[in-house]
């Protein structure tokens, strides 16, 4: 069985979905809105903290692409990834179309890999579209100066973090086996991880503010504080960090790999052992 043939089938199927096409249109729109927003604000007379915003903002093509990426990473495209992954697994399971694929001579791991591969293609397509449009429009409006390397790495980072997010969503979808359940499960997980991140951030700040004689927290608390870069919000925010030239901690990369590989492993095992209705 050719893996490429399966990938082709899943990609064609995915791209034929209305939601996938809508996502592509939205990616293109973000690629246009980013530069336009940057242009509008950099040309405005808005004063922030006593400084003229127009002078503070650097308007150039890479910055335009960065703005577009920031808009994208504000959970807009992740929402589409969540929707598409849950449709392509849990939706097909509920609609019984997955069963029709599984009576063919293909292994379940191959089916999952093809679905994740198709998602990777779609994510790559949305990012490429957005990058090309925002860079192109930015170059026309503002010129080509700026930090090209950082923003390009930011797009690569967004691709990687969305892929990890997709693998994790796939794991949830194989466990709960329903589109609504996957969406609710992932939303709860994201909210929980955000709240945990904020709680750890505040607790660490409070602990550091204490005078040394009062600061006698157990060692476990410091381990918890140190785990912040491993949280999903950090691992799935690679793109934004790389786009601003931040040096990422190795634990963030480890967390990214953990959510990607762990998500895949759970999805693969859960699917292998599940009964197909």
């Amino acid at each position: 069985m050719s893996a490429l043939l399966l990938l082709r089938a899943e990609s064609v199927k995915l791209l034929s979905r209305r939601s996938a096409r809508l996502g592509l249109v939205l990616a293109a729109l973000l690629g246009i809105v980013g530069p336009l927003l940057l242009g509008t604000l950099s040309g405005s007379a808005i004063v922030v903290n006593g400084a003229d915003l127009g002078e503070t903002l650097q308007a150039n093509a890479p910055m335009a692409a960065r703005w577009a990426l920031s808009l994208r990473d504000f959970w807009i495209m992740q929402a589409f990834v969540l929707l598409l992954v849950s449709q392509s697994f849990a939706g097909e399971l509920q609609a019984r179309t997955l069963r029709e694929d599984l009576v063919r001579p293909v292994g379940r791991s191959q089916v999952l890999a093809a679905k994740l591969g198709a998602m990777a293609l779609w994510i790559g397509l949305t990012l490429a579209l957005q990058y090309a449009l925002s860079i192109g429009l930015g170059a026309v409006l503002f010129g080509t100066d700026g930090a090209w390397r950082d923003v390009s790495l930011g797009y690569v980072g967004s691709f990687l973090s969305d892929l990890s997010f997709a693998a994790f969503t796939l794991a949830v979808a194989t466990l709960v086996r329903s589109v609504v359940g996957t969406a609710v499960g992932m939303l709860l997980f994201i909210v929980f991880s955000k709240l945990l991140g904020w709680a750890l951030f505040l607790a660490e700040g409070a602990a550091n503010a204490l005078p040394p004689e009062m600061n006698q927290l157990p060692q476990a608390a410091y381990w918890l504080f140190a785990s912040q870069p491993m949280l999903p919000s950090a691992a799935w925010g690679l793109g934004g960090e790389l786009a601003v030239g931040a040096d990422l901690l190795w634990v963030t990369w480890a967390a990214w790999a953990l959510y990607l590989l762990g998500g895949w492993a759970v999805a693969d095992r859960a699917f292998a052992w599940s009964d197909i209705p």
């Binding site: 199927k13 069963r99 029709e100 009576v103 063919r104 001579p105 197909i276």
Partner: protein
Amino acid sequence: MEVRGLTHRFGARVAVQSLDLTVRKGDVYGFLGPNGAGKTTAMRCMVGLLRPHQGSVQIFGEGHPVRARARLGAMIETPAFHDWMSGRDNLWLSACYLGLPDPHAELDRVLDRVGLRERALDKAGAYSLGMRQRLSIARALLGQPKLLLLDEPTNGLDPRGMHEVRQLVRSLALHDGITVFLSTHLLAEVQAICNRVGILQKGRLQAEGTVEELLARGDQADGMVEVSSSDPAALAAAVAALPGAEAKGEGTQGRLRVIVQAPLDVPGLIAGLVERGVPLTSVVPQRRSLEDVFLELTG
């Protein structure tokens, strides 16, 4: 296909228990059973959608489910399609899953086989139930399988659609040399097109054999007639008094159904009734149907 000791449970409920059956090359095997007997569960185990708790399934000598499906076409329960895609595109997806790199000629072949080529570019969601059944059979025929598993292929079809599907299945077996494993409720259909039959009840195989073997089962092997008389009471009394004759309730058109067992035969029954002064008005020999056997075995 060899199924040995197949058992599957849903929680505490045993859906299929120690199922043994054999489908030989060239068979058109009718898999019968009432609703909830476990037919679909058994078929889902056969194609690897469910993991059996016990037992094994071998298809063309291959026990590994993925490799076993290489020469298998299956239609399990109500067909499902990606409704926003055309019928042809749905088949193309399946062809990719089968590993057919350039399947267009194969798509044309199976669409022609089920008479759907003219509507192939319509969206699957716009198909009637009959068309969906035919498209599903077309999908099962992709890649020229040697064994076809069809689960209630005439379900929901009108009489014309049922006739078409029946003709198609018969033709697949006779002309294409495909072995067919067919689950259905339609006993007349099985009697018409199947050479071997298995009857499942509460997850257990109650009987298996050729149609003739099943029809010849049990006490009714000797003969059954329906008899009427202008004096039904005298008829009933005479039948009860005749050794080898047993009344089996009301038959068609108010006649009394009588089982005749050796050494008594039908001429002997008639002679005995006439001797006892029963005014006979009709004696209609009955050929036992698969429905009779089915009802007898499934309670």
